[in-house]
Each structure stands twice: as C-alpha cells, then as structure tokens.
C-alpha cells in the first residue's frame, strides 16, 4: 500500500470525481480526517495476502438467468411523479450541448 497523506487538492479532486461540491470548511475537515482514517486502514499492510483470492461476494453464486418474458411494470406516470423537473413524458435536465 502506498503511503499518502491526503492534501487539500486531493479532496477537491475527489469531490469533482464524486460530483459533490464541498465547502471550504468541509475540505479542511476531510483533509485531516481522511488522512487519519487512511493511516488506520494502512494496518492491512501487516497482513500477508499472497496467493489469497479476493472475496467480492460471500455466496458461491454465478450469473443468475431467467427467461426473457415481458411483465407489467410501473407506469410512466407513477415514475415521473417523483421527478424534480419534467416535461410531458420526459425528465427535464439542463442543456447538455
């Protein structure tokens, strides 16, 4: 594991990656706290994991398939009820191009 103390620029970069606008106060706070948490997490370096397979999933499940039979689903109207902005049958979002 690479040693790396989090810097303020790192927090800003991560905020952009995660699409979260952070306040100056949050940036300062997270910089300090994430450094501490990552330091704690680095204790995993003590564990020898050579030749150990990762566990992504606890059960021995493989792909689960079902027959492709159409079923009724939630109506457009019901789904659009929760939309913060809509137009007719569409979700409305700010202009992209």
């Amino acid at each position: 594991m690479k040693e790396k103390i989090i810097k303020k620029e790192d927090v800003e970069y991560l905020g952009r990656l995660a699409r979260i606008e952070l306040t100056e106060e949050e940036k300062k706070k997270f910089e300090k706290e994430l450094g501490k948490i990552l330091e704690y997490i680095s204790k995993l370096n003590e564990v020898n994991t050579e030749n150990i397979e990762p566990t992504y999933h606890v059960l021995p499940l493989k792909n689960v398939f079902r027959d492709d039979i159409p079923e009724s689903s939630t109506s457009k109207e019901e789904i659009l009820k929760n939309a913060p902005d809509k137009d007719d049958d569409f979700f409305k979002v700010p202009r992209i191009i």
């Binding site: 979260i20 059960l59 499940l61």
Partner: protein
Amino acid sequence: METLKLSIWQLRELYKKKEVKPSEVVMSLIEEIYKKDKEIHSYLYINEKAIEQAKKVDEKIAKSENLRELEGIPISIKDNICTKEIPTTCASKILQNFIPPYDATVIERLKNAGAIIIGKTNMDEFAFGSSTENSAFGPTKNPFDLNRVPGGSSGGSTASVASNLCFASLGSDTGGSIRQPSAFCGVVGMKPTYGRVSRYGLVAFASSLDQIGPITKNVRDNTILLKIISGKDKKDSTSVNIEVPDYEKHLGEEIKNLKIGVPKEYFIEGIDREIKEKIFKVLKLLEKEGAIIEEITLPHTSYGIATYYIIATAEASSNLARFDGVKYGYRSKNYKNLFEMYTKTRGEGFGEEVKRRIILGTYVLSSGYYEAYYLKAQKVRTLIKKDFELAFEKVDVIITPTTPELPFKIGEKKDDPLKMYLSDIFTVNVNLSGLPAINIPIGFSLNKLPIGLQIIGNFFKEEEILKVGYVIEKNIKEEKYE
C-alpha cells in the same frame, strides 16, 4: 394501554379471543407515539391510514374469519425500505420528498401476512452511522437514557420497539446496524445470512453486505417475522433458494452437547468490564444447560474495521451515484450547467457523513489506489471469512459481546469518525463473511443501560442461534443467572 406492551403472539391471541379490536390498538398506539415520541424521536412518519386498515380487520374478527399470521399487527419500518405511497427518505434531505411507487419485497410479504405498517423510523442518513445522530431530521434518543444514543443506524427501529411504540420493526444491517442498536436498546435484533432475505426495495448502501432483518421484543416474535420475510425472490438475484424452516418450532429444543465457541480476540482490553462479566455469567448458565464452551481463535478479527470501511465506502460511493437530481429527490435551485446541477444537488442534499464516505469510497476506487486498498481489502475479507469457516468446523455457534461498550452520550463521538467506526468492531466481520447473527439482551449495567450478547451462526443456520437465544432469554426472565 397495557396491550401495547404485549408481544406479537400474545396480541394475536387477544384478537382471536375478540378481547381487543385492532383499531383500538392502532389508535392508542398512534396516540402514544404522538405523546412519547416527542422526546425519543424514533419515528419520521406516522401512517394514519393504519386506522382504516385496522377497522377492516375488526370486521374480519367480528365475522370470525380466519386471521393471517400478522393480521392487524402494527409494525414499524426503517426509512430506507421502500413503502408504496408512504415517504421513504433514508433520513436524507436528498430524498425528503420521495414517495416510492412500489413496495420492497419484505413489505409485500408483511402485507400479505396482514401486517399494518404503522410508520417509518429514524436512522443515520443512508444507514451511515452507529448512533442515529447522522439523521438529517434530528437524532433519536435512547429510551433508557435520553442523554444517550440508541445506537445505529437502525436506532429509530430499535428505540420504537424498546419503548413499545410498535410491536416489531424491520431494520437493515450492513456492519452491525441492527445488532448494535438492538444491544443499546435492549431488544432482539437479527441479521440473517446474506441471501436469506430479499434486498429488493432496500435503498442500497453496500450491496455485498446489506441484509434486512427483524427487530422484536423477544425471540419468539423474531422467529415469526423472520419466517415471513425470508426466501428466494426473483427480483433479487442474490437471494437464495434454500428452504425456509419453521423457526418457531426450534424454540425450546435442548442445547445439550451443543458446542459454543468463544473467540479470545473479542475479550481484549478496552471492553467494558460489566459487559464482559455479564457475558461470562451467561456462558456459565449455558454450560449448566449442557452446552460445551470452547475457546476459539479468529486471528484476523482486528483487521475487520479497516477492511469494512474500504469495502463499504467503495460500494456506497458507487450506489449513491444514482442521487443526481434527475429522476427523484432533491435538485439544487442554483446551477449554470449540468455539472453544477450534479455537484450542487449532491453538495446541498447529502449530509456530512454521507459526503465523507463517498469521498473515501471514491479515493479507494480511484486509479492508482484500487489495488492497494480495494483489492487488498477483498483479500483480507477472504481471510476473515476463512477464520469463521475453520471455527465452524469445530463449534455450532459463536458467542461474543455485541458491542465493546455501553450506549454512549449524544455528541460524544460525533467529531471523531474513526472512534465512531470502531464501535462496530464486534459486528462488521459477520457482514464481511455473510453469516447470520443475533443480539440477545442479557440485562443491565449498574447505571441501568442495556447490555447485549451476540450469537453468530453458520450459513443459513438461523434456527441454531434463535434456539440458543431462546434458552438465554428464558433463563434471564426467570432470573436464574444473577
């Protein structure tokens, strides 16, 4: 109303004997919630329609019709489980106005059994927390001491059960979120085996760890609820097609020659002395009942929290990408373009702990760090799971304290996230391994705070831990262990 203190199976008997009407129970329950919950704040939403529903059950009873298993029984639901036409907020501003157009599978199953959804309970925002202080709508208080936390993240559910403001509740458990608050509130809380209960309709936190489970006043009620919500669901491909036993029938079975493992790594320095003493008293009692107590070792125990916080935050950062201000929930009012709409919506909509975890999860998954953190953690996870698998070759169940400490004061850990994360030290490894585990209340500390014991079982052996839990509960009720 004394009736509110009853268990599910007792209330069911009263309905059958026509001694009390479901509508009376629901009305007095709602009245009680309005009165008592001002202080405790276990509920975020009270379902007034429950009264109409209960009146229909009144009619059924009047006509002496057959009652389904949970007919007319009021149950509260953690607010991250989708309930049709009832708000589901995850205690987050970003979902404040969200009303699901569908029921989670567990809700469908409860409704099919006749249960009445009495309301939605408070929680740490998106289940990120161990104290219910991270709710965007204010913290829940511990009913045993209003200056202390109820635990979390299902703290609203456990507080509502502990204060008789419902007859049972459903919570969710990703790293201890059912068991730890159950210990802090003195109730029975079960995290089933991963795959035992459908996660369809549970707002996802960490998909490889999340499970829904019952929180109840006693072990028998827990068996009743677990049976109803368990089983394969085609809408959740990780739910497993293994027969669901009639758990209730296993209660009262002897535990003679049952092998109980006690991992030495769970009795380290720093654990509360009173908790330790109580656990050992219970172990003695189980020995008297014929169980064989064996010290075991789970050598990778101390790596659990580090492993958990890598995997859980990584999965959470990905799962919470869906809250983008487009399809549902909150959208910021002041943005100039699409990018800003996302960042401002999420910046304004998420609380501090949610942001902290998304940022951490994004970091451990980001290019250059994936192998060092995420992959490494998944490998240590294999070792943690292997520890349990080896242990279960020798013993039938494992007993540990549920928490290293008694309920802490509100605000005590709020400013130190790492300290807060460490309160799940005895519960996270169970999720990392996928095993079932339950909290059983085993009495009180000198300052009258509840103490909990955790029983961990082998995969899909919920009946084993329920059986042992029932023996403990019975002995404690008869005050045999003091």
